[in-house]
């Protein structure tokens, strides 16, 4: 295929404001650079926009439309329709899938081309308060083609709009308003009335106004115009529609502008010689229209090629012969504003004699926009689709490196961590937050912490979230008993700011927990032969069932430990290796050693508990604290406090608690009393021990105590806590200073 250099041009496609220029040559011929070019009937533009193409085709279609109008003027609607479809539409739609009007401007331009012609007739006649005694047909039926819309002004300020029957169906949103400008702005003798309507998709407003009278008062007339223009509002619309918001405005009436600067005789003589154009340059309205920005801006008027319509001796064609001897004037005018208005006729009707004014009329052909419903729907749907796409594209989007996390062999008080990376892969900043599931109080189980649990990530950025599992004394019991598992779903909630666009991501957490004697109930512990690790899970679950001890008692009468062997081992170790050690229960142990002690108790090896005696002492406290039901069961906690000042009563309460709990209590107290016998060496004080063991042996149930009726002020709550603490210590104190069996 050969190209002809003369027929080739260069179209560089760029969005740069200053594109790089390069001369392209073909067969030694420098190609002409252009900014738009026609190719296969489509106008291509260097900025890849289509407005030239749209301009081209609309112009083309308009030309064809004009051709049709001229030649099919008398043809019936059906033929016009067919011609439009066959000749105009294809021009508009050619290659529409390529250029697809995507800007609102382009689209609306296309819609606008689908117009239909309509006739508008406007008439104004100041009848000077007279009833027309004669037929007004001469005024109103002057055109061969009857108008579609007819507007007449008859008396005072009155406006009637007639619509021809066949187009009634296309007329809607009819509304009216009026603005008085007479004396004090309230008298109705001067002012304007407006009637607006829409024909198909074109809004048309008719205004009839009677402006201020008198030769020299043209400034008053201008002011009247401005008042009407500012105040007229069509309140059927939200917000109310103003005059200027209409596609077309026809402003008619006795505008009262006069001819000034000429003697009356000169005026009359010019009229006699039909020097209307010359005379018009002395017309006050003509002098201002199109020149003064605040006198009917944007309005046009046809050429006034008729005799002034004012002032006649009523009943005659003679100029006013009263003593006022008024200068003839074009008081009665028809102005119009808006695109697509073609004035056909502008004239006066001197044969109608009854008034001192003559009627004036004008006929127009106007272009009414008819939005092709189907096309408009398509454009609308298209816009909605694009909005959807935009909206979806701008939804927050994140990627998670993993959605499932397994925590294998989780152990008591041994933290385990995984990292979740949240990357923002969308185009907007993402706000994420872990949220609670329905009916749950927290976004994760108590043995888990997420940090951060909420944050904002910029597009392209990421955030690392630490998922830490840590089973402590408060969560261990449920995991031991099988009531809880290392198993959760975290819900990550994404918000694009202000909770607007949202999505959720589920993150699975699973794993297993290695049961520990820490966190087992006293009841289970005393049934446990051998270290806990050697006990099958099913059996563990069984002995943790409430009442399992009673059942066992009756059915098997199996051997039970008097106190859990773990408590015994810990106490015995301290007794053997630490009774003379100072700072017992005061100096903290080492975390590593406590883990080793945990493993030793749980596995049974080695024989001797590892670690320093301080670590063992802390392990003992932790062990007692981790019991799901404390040594002194929660159920009697408050009774113990109540009787803490009376040893006998305290003993009585103790006699009512389960045997194994009582055994542990008595055993621990006996041990502490033994330690106190070595007070000279270990410096232990009874008050200190009472206070420490008060905390671990006596604990209220975990349920939050009901808020006090007094609105639980902070200080009073603290005072109460202090008092409870003292009572707990007092309770223990009795047993550290007295032998239980005395």
């Amino acid at each position: 295929m050969a190209f002809h250099p003369d027929k080739c041009t260069v179209l560089s496609v760029t969005t740069k404001r200053k594109p790089i220029k390069h001369n392209y040559t073909l067969h030694n011929h420098t190609l002409e650079p252009v900014s738009s070019s026609k190719y296969l009937g489509i106008t291509l533009q260097s900025n890849l926009k289509w407005d030239n193409h749209i301009h081209d085709i609309t112009a083309k279609a308009n030309k064809t439309l004009g051709f049709l109008k001229r030649n099919l003027k008398t043809a019936n609607q059906n033929i016009k329709d067919q011609a439009y479809r066959a000749l105009v539409r294809p021009k508009l739609e050619y290659a529409s899938s390529v250029w697809d009007p995507h800007t609102k401007e382009s689209a609306s331009k296309l819609e606008m081309i689908q117009r239909r012609g309509a006739r508008v007739f406007c008439g104004t006649w100041n009848v000077n308060g007279q009833h027309p005694p004669i037929s007004v047909a001469k005024w109103l039926q002057r055109d061969d083609v009857p108008p579609d819309v007819r507007l007449i002004r008859l008396v005072g300020i009155m406006l009637i709009v007639y619509v021809k029957d066949p187009i009634v169906g296309s007329v809607h949103f009819v509304d009216a308003d009026y603005v008085p400008t007479g004396i004090m702005g309230i008298m109705g003798n001067k002012g304007g009335v407006g009637v607006r309507l829409s024909i198909n998709n074109t809004s048309i407003l008719f205004i009839n106004s009677h402006l201020a009278a008198h030769q020299d008062e043209f400034e008053r007339r201008n002011q009247d115009y401005r008042d009407i223009a500012a105040k007229m509002k069509f309140r059927q619309f939200v917000p109310p529609l103003t005059i200027d918001e209409h596609d077309m405005v026809f402003w008619i009436g006795d505008l009262n502008y006069r001819i000034s600067g000429l003697e009356i005789d000169v005026v009359k003589s010019m009229i006699e010689h039909e020097k209307f154009t010359d005379l018009q340059s002395y017309d006050q309205l003509h002098q201002q229209l199109g020149r003064s920005p605040d006198v009917f801006p944007g309005y046009m008027e046809g050429k006034v090629l008729f005799r002034p319509t004012y002032k006649y001796n009523p009943g005659t064609d003679e100029w006013d012969s009263s003593e006022k001897n008024r200068i003839p004037a074009w008081c009665d005018r028809i102005l119009f504003k808006g695109p697509g208005i073609n004035l056909l006729q502008y004239r006066e009707h001197s044969e109608l004699l009854i008034s001192d004014h003559k009627p004036v009329s004008a006929s127009f052909e106007v272009q009414v926009k008819v939005v092709d419903e189907e096309k408009s729907k398509r454009v609308y749907e298209d816009i909605m689709k694009k909005l959807d796409r935009l909206e979806n594209d701008y939804l927050p989007q994140v990627k998670l490196d993993k959605t499932e996390f397994t925590f294998t062999d989780v152990r008591f008080i041994e933290p385990m961590e995984h990292t979740l990376t949240v990357s923002n892969t969308g185009q907007v900043p993402v706000e994420f937050e872990f949220i609670e599931k329905l009916d749950e109080k927290s976004y994760c189980k108590p043995w888990m912490t997420l940090s951060p649990f909420k944050s904002v990530i910029a597009p392209g950025d990421k955030c690392e979230v630490q998922l830490e599992v840590y089973v402590d004394k408060s969560s261990v019991a449920h995991l031991n008993s099988g009531m809880d598992q290392i198993d959760d779903i975290l819900v990550l909630h994404l918000a694009g700011g202000k909770d607007f666009f949202i999505s959720f991501l589920n993150i699975l957490v699973n794993g297993n927990f290695i049961a520990s004697s820490f966190g087992c109930s006293v009841e289970a512990l005393v049934q446990m032969h051998g270290p806990i690790r050697e006990i099958p899970v099913a059996q563990l679950v069984e002995i943790e069932q409430p009442g399992s001890l009673l059942k066992r008692d009756m059915t098997q009468g199996g051997r039970l430990y008097a106190v859990p062997k773990e408590v015994w081992r810990l106490v015995d170790h301290i007794w053997q290796y630490g009774q003379k050690e100072s700072s017992l229960f005061q100096q903290p142990g080492l975390h590593k050693e406590i883990l080793a002690i945990r493993d030793c108790l749980d596995t049974g090896v080695p024989d001797r508990i590892p670690g320093s005696v301080h670590s063992v002492a802390e392990a003992l406290l932790l062990f007692l604290e981790s019991l799901p039901d404390p040594v002194i069961p929660c159920s009697v906690y408050h009774r113990c406090l109540d009787c803490s000042n009376n040893f006998m009563l305290c003993k009585q309460v103790l006699s009512q608690i389960p045997e194994c709990h009582k055994n542990v209590f008595v055993y621990v107290c006996a041990f502490l009393r033994e330690l106190l016998t070595h007070a000279e060496e270990n410096n232990l004080e009874v008050k200190f021990l009472a206070s420490i063991f008060g905390e671990v042996l006596l604990r209220p149930s975990k349920q939050p105590s009901p808020p006090s009726a007094m609105g639980s002020e902070h200080s009073s709550a603290r005072a109460m806590a202090k008092e409870e603490e003292m009572k707990r210590a007092a309770f223990i104190y009795h047993f550290l200073t007295n032998d239980f069996y005395e």
């Binding site: 008396v155 009634v168 007329v171 009819v174 059927q236 006795d254 689709k385 909005l387 959720f504 589920n506």
Partner: protein, 213 residues
């Protein structure tokens, strides 16, 4: 539901109200929920569609004659292990599409379970549509059309067989739901399309003259 009044002014698009509805897709894993959404919203289909974790949100607008329905579509995870989270996602939904795979009888049983759950726990006026997806695999059909149809009728559900792969009935199911959703709230100022006095040629009225000047 947020009914928004459209352009009141003349010369605007003639479409009136925009109503927004929350729609949720439910159904067993791999029946094609995400594929239906992807087909509807983006016109695409992926042979290897990743299983959904959580619930993803997309919007899509459907234009009816007089109203525009904007769907806020929640595609949920079908895997059973996420089941407990489902109420969080269908809470407040005005419409649901319960999807099953016509080549898998179990998914139909599961769909019935979802319908039951929705009827019990979701908003009382929820519009439920049942979609028998993967209709392109008719040769492997395990759920008869009539069976699903009868079930849908008993429970007053919309029922359509769809294929996210061939796009068959995908737009249609959303359209059917859009049509069935109530759009009566709001109302807005009534527009007099043809207010005016009809003048009969016979009864020409005499106009009263008023004085001016």
């Amino acid at each position: 539901m947020a009914g928004r009044q459209g352009a009141q002014r003349p010369n605007g698009a003639t479409q009136g109200k925009i109503c927004q509805f929350k729609l949720v897709l439910l159904g067993e894993s791999a029946v094609g929920k995400s594929s239906l959404v992807l087909r509807f919203v983006k016109g695409q289909f992926h042979e290897y569609q990743e299983s959904t974790i959580g619930a993803a949100f997309l919007t899509q607008t459907v234009c009816l004659d007089d109203t525009t329905v904007k769907f806020e579509i929640w595609d949920t995870a079908g895997q059973e292990r996420y089941h407990s989270l489902a109420p969080m996602y269908y809470r407040g939904a005005q419409a649901a599409i319960v999807v099953f795979d016509i080549t898998n009888q179990d998914t139909f049983a599961r769909a019935k379970g979802w319908v039951k759950e929705l009827q019990r726990q979701a908003s009382p006026n929820i519009v439920i549509a049942l979609a028998g997806n993967k209709a392109d695999l008719a040769q492997k059909r395990m759920v008869e059309y009539e069976e699903a149809q009868a079930y849908a009728e008993e429970n007053s559900l919309l029922f359509i067989e769809t294929s996210a792969k061939t796009a068959m009935n995908v737009n249609e199911i959303f359209l059917a739901i859009a049509k069935k959703l109530p759009k009566n709230e709001g109302g807005g100022p009534t527009q007099s399309r043809q207010s005016g006095v009809k003048l009969n040629n016979e009864q020409t009225q005499q106009s009263e003259g008023g004085c001016c000047k």
